[in-house]
């Protein structure tokens, strides 16, 4: 049971990483149209069958892993940078600047995030970079709130006062003396953030607001396959299972990380 709970998610995530990293160097042909293999079922030379243009589903699945990893990590990185800066400045500066930033955070939190991302992605147009911008535009808020709370609770500690007395500036205080202590909860949040970004990327691509065709994404594979549900269910099943397994694994990993960190951070 324990091996199943811990080994399987880790293995699946490794597979995801590996697929995303080596996909470009493998002899894959995710865009090769083969009119003789249209809607071919799994088996017969291609492991997961072929789609409505005769493109191999397995190859597209591996190419889609790269898309989801790029977006997942991209969104979390950009959100983290913005969130840490906004939250850190708000917590450290205090006063009117804090008030303004907290109001801004409140407004963003009052939005159903994915809705704002849908609208933004629709207005920006398709493409991986626009997708990352749209999702990070709503994703930074959680980190900002978390980092602000952490900074507020940490900034009265003696070592911060000592550093301040020694003439450390706000940037040095934030990056050298506060953030390292706030790293653990931020890391847990970021792990769940990757899962959320993977689902969001697939969701936006499903709505036709994600990557530009013919680039492969699990979401757009489900979208394209839905029209052939009865004759070729594998077109929808394969990418869906991929999203499900990745999200499940990342969430399990996050749970585990949280449990472990909680134990240590509460002496």
């Amino acid at each position: 049971m324990s091996a199943l709970r811990h080994g399987l998610p880790a293995g699946l995530l490794l597979l995801w990483l590996l697929a995303a990293l080596v996909a470009p160097v493998l002899p894959l042909a995710p865009d090769r149209i083969d009119l003789t293999a249209i809607l071919a079922p799994p088996g017969h030379g291609s492991l997961l069958g072929n789609d409505d243009l005769g493109r191999p589903v397995l190859d597209r699945l591996l190419a889609g892993a790269r898309t989801s990893l790029l977006v997942g990590l991209g969104v979390v990185t950009v959100s983290l940078v913005i969130g840490v800066l906004v939250g850190g400045v708000a917590g450290l500066a205090g006063g009117w600047l804090d008030l303004v930033l907290v109001r801004l955070i409140d407004v963003f939190l009052a939005f159903p995030g994915i809705l704002l991302a849908i609208a933004l992605a629709g207005i920006l147009g398709p493409g991986i970079d626009n997708l990352i911008i749209a999702l990070a535009a709503v994703g930074w808020v959680g980190y900002a709130r978390l980092v602000r709370a952490q900074v507020l609770s940490l900034k009265r500690r003696d070592h911060v006062a000592a550093a301040r007395a020694l003439g450390a500036g706000p940037a040095r205080l934030l990056f050298r003396h506060l953030l390292p202590l706030a790293l653990a909860p931020v890391l847990v949040e970021a792990t769940f953030g990757v899962a959320a970004a993977v689902i969001a990327e697939a969701g936006l691509s499903f709505l036709g607001l994600g990557v530009q065709p013919p680039q492969a994404s699990w979401g757009s594979m489900i979208r394209d396959g839905a029209a052939y549900l009865l004759v070729a269910p594998h077109l929808v099943l394969a990418p869906g299972v991929a999203v499900l397994l990745v999200v499940l694994s990342v969430n399990l990993l996050g749970d585990r990380l949280r449990d472990r960190i909680d134990v240590r951070s509460r002496p």
């Binding site: 109001r103 801004l104 409140d106 407004v107 963003f108 009052a110 939005f111 159903p112 995030g113 994915i114 809705l115 704002l116 849908i118 609208a119 933004l120 629709g122 207005i123 920006l124 147009g125 899962a195 689902i199 697939a202 969701g203 499903f206 709505l207 036709g208 607001l209 979401g219 489900i222 979208r223 396959g225 839905a226 549900l229 009865l230 269910p233 929808v236 099943l237 990418p239 869906g240 999203v243 499900l244 999200v247 499940l248 969430n251 399990l252």
Partner: protein, 301 residues
Amino acid sequence: MAARTASAALVILGVGSLVFLLIHLVPGDPVEAMLGEGARAADREVLRAALGLDRPLAEQYLGYLARTASLDLGQSFAYQRPVADLLAERIPATLELALAALTLALLLALPLGVLAARHRGGALDTGAMGFSLLGAAIPNFWLGPVLILVFSLWLGWTPVSGREGAASLVLPAVTLGTGLAAVLARMVRSSVLEVLAEDYIRTARAKGLRESSLLWGHALRNAWLPVLTLIGLQLGGLLAGAVITETVFAWPGVGSLLIEAIQARDYPVVQACVLLISLTYVLVNALTDLVCAWADPRVRG
């Protein structure tokens, strides 16, 4: 109370401003996007004037606020009709779907969470938490097509899509409700577990109260508040999830209107849909706060 209302009003103003900025701060020219690159300069100017985009930003912003406050949402380009009329047609469908999904989620999550808490560590608990983990990870743009495949295409029990009759509501409601049920079940479980550890539960048990009335009467009743707050918070996810679910099932609600409008570059409609859904979310959360305050003697007093 006054502070809470003022704070909600400020958030509403902020949300409205953000929706306005959404279209105006994004790089690129909405007029060009709407007409395509081959459009004549004269046509562009006409559309720009019709949208009011030729005036200074501050003037546009104030005009937008004034019009929105008087419920004038402008004219749709694609339909050539007032946006308010379009929304009025679509709102009932979304409301029906959201309520059905919420009801289903509650019917599923309450017994599941309570029973999981009662049999903590047992097979039922493991099963319920497995469902919760899975339900939160299944994206509804995948669950929808899979349900269509099984129940509409293979078994032929329900219509594939559209909104005709009660049977057509079943699959969209299940698709939308599952994720919410998963999150709620987990919350109900931990909330009930917390209550079960209280002294008054031990007292009630000691005086010989039956286990079932203890569980459903005492424990669940006191576990309600955090669950209620969570429902308010999750409603935003529900409304946003409705956008995807409505698209999967061609359900004629506000969500599918939003996607149609995005594809047609019908910006007044996009703006109005986002505004409507966000304001609903803000209002429901404010309302949840009020209900919690009213239901909880500690907060009330």
